[in-house]
């Protein structure tokens, strides 16, 4: 499925909660289409967190990261930017909002 790779070849570091979404580009290279890739592309018709994709596809996170990395390289998926970088500590305003929302649960 990943041809033995355990890390994506793409230079992009995909966080476990990175949001990815389809670019809308048509799939032209059908030789590399597998059921998993097709399902990934179908799910990414709307933005999805990497961990949600792994759960939906019932595949380990690392496998999904490799597959998503390939699809990004092929221009079929892209990372959706977030106000806070997923590797920096979340900003205070966002945290205060989460606090309010948690209290209201």
């Amino acid at each position: 499925m990943t041809r033995g790779r355990t890390r994506p070849t793409t230079g992009v570091q995909l966080d476990v909660v990175a949001i990815v979404v389809g670019t809308g580009l048509a799939v032209t290279d059908t030789t590399r289409t597998t059921p998993e890739r097709q399902r990934l592309l179908a799910l990414c018709g709307r933005p999805q967190a990497l961990a949600d994709l792994a759960s939906d596809l019932d595949l380990p996170i690392g496998v999904v990261r490799v597959l998503v990395g390939d699809l990004i390289d092929q221009g079929l998926l892209r990372i959706q930017p977030q106000p806070t970088s997923s590797t920096a500590h979340p900003d205070q305003r966002l945290l205060r909002r989460v606090l309010d929302d948690l209290r209201a649960l």
């Binding site: 355990t6 890390r7 933005p47 961990a51 996170i61 945290l95």
Partner: protein, 204 residues
């Protein structure tokens, strides 16, 4: 974030945040995650050998020894596509490879502890202290377990005074919610300035 009306059915998450739930086996991680969030199955790989560690290009390595590990995984979706993800991972050192990634950019961690097995919590506490990840200790009060005073537990765990230590019953939604609220409050204090360290903060 754009100001367009958010439609959860079609828009998906816009902002994703992480909280780690660490603790020994049977301490209540799955219950905590399931009580406050929509819990779902999630697997990650565990590398069984040291072979290949540090090698970036693993293209063509077909026989790498890995096994999959189930994690506790939950999601709470808030207004406007803000999604909070909970990741429950075992506390043993061999699972730290997962924590390295999960703690990057995380709000922080909940170290779930059981007073009958406090030793199980030391590795987790040590990890988050060294990494500088904001964390709290939540002591799950099991039926039949002797009740200790918070100060006794804090002393036994030897955590800094600024680290919140709270009692909880993770089977109860309000209690589990309070654990997350305590962590987010602590993360806000920790994230602002390093001066938050050493301040006298309310416990629990």
């Amino acid at each position: 974030m754009t100001s367009a009306p958010y439609d959860p059915a079609t828009d998906g998450p816009r902002v994703t945040l992480k909280i780690l739930v660490a603790g020994g086996f049977g301490v209540g991680k799955t219950t905590l995650v399931g009580t406050v969030s929509e819990i779902r199955p999630l697997r990650t790989e565990e590398v069984l050998t040291d072979a290949g560690v540090g090698i970036d290009d693993l293209d063509g390595v077909e026989d790498k020894a890995t096994t999959t590990v189930a994690m506790d995984f939950g999601r709470i979706t808030f207004r406007d596509g803000v999604a909070l993800y909970l990741f429950g991972t075992p506390g043993q050192k061999r699972f730290w490879f997962m924590w390295d990634e999960l703690s990057l950019g995380a709000i922080g961690a909940v170290v779930l502890a059981d007073t009958r097995r406090l030793n199980d919590s030391f590795a987790s506490i040590d990890y988050f202290e060294r990494r500088g990840t904001p964390f709290i200790v939540a002591v799950n009060c099991f039926d039949g377990a002797r009740r200790y005073r918070l100060e006794e537990i804090r002393s036994a765990l030897d955590v800094d005074v600024h680290v919140p230590v709270v009692l909880c019953d993770v089977r109860r939604r309000e209690s589990a919610k309070e654990v997350l609220i305590t962590l987010v409050e602590h993360s806000i204090r920790s994230g602002g300035t390093a001066a938050a360290r050493g301040d006298s903060l309310p416990i629990g």
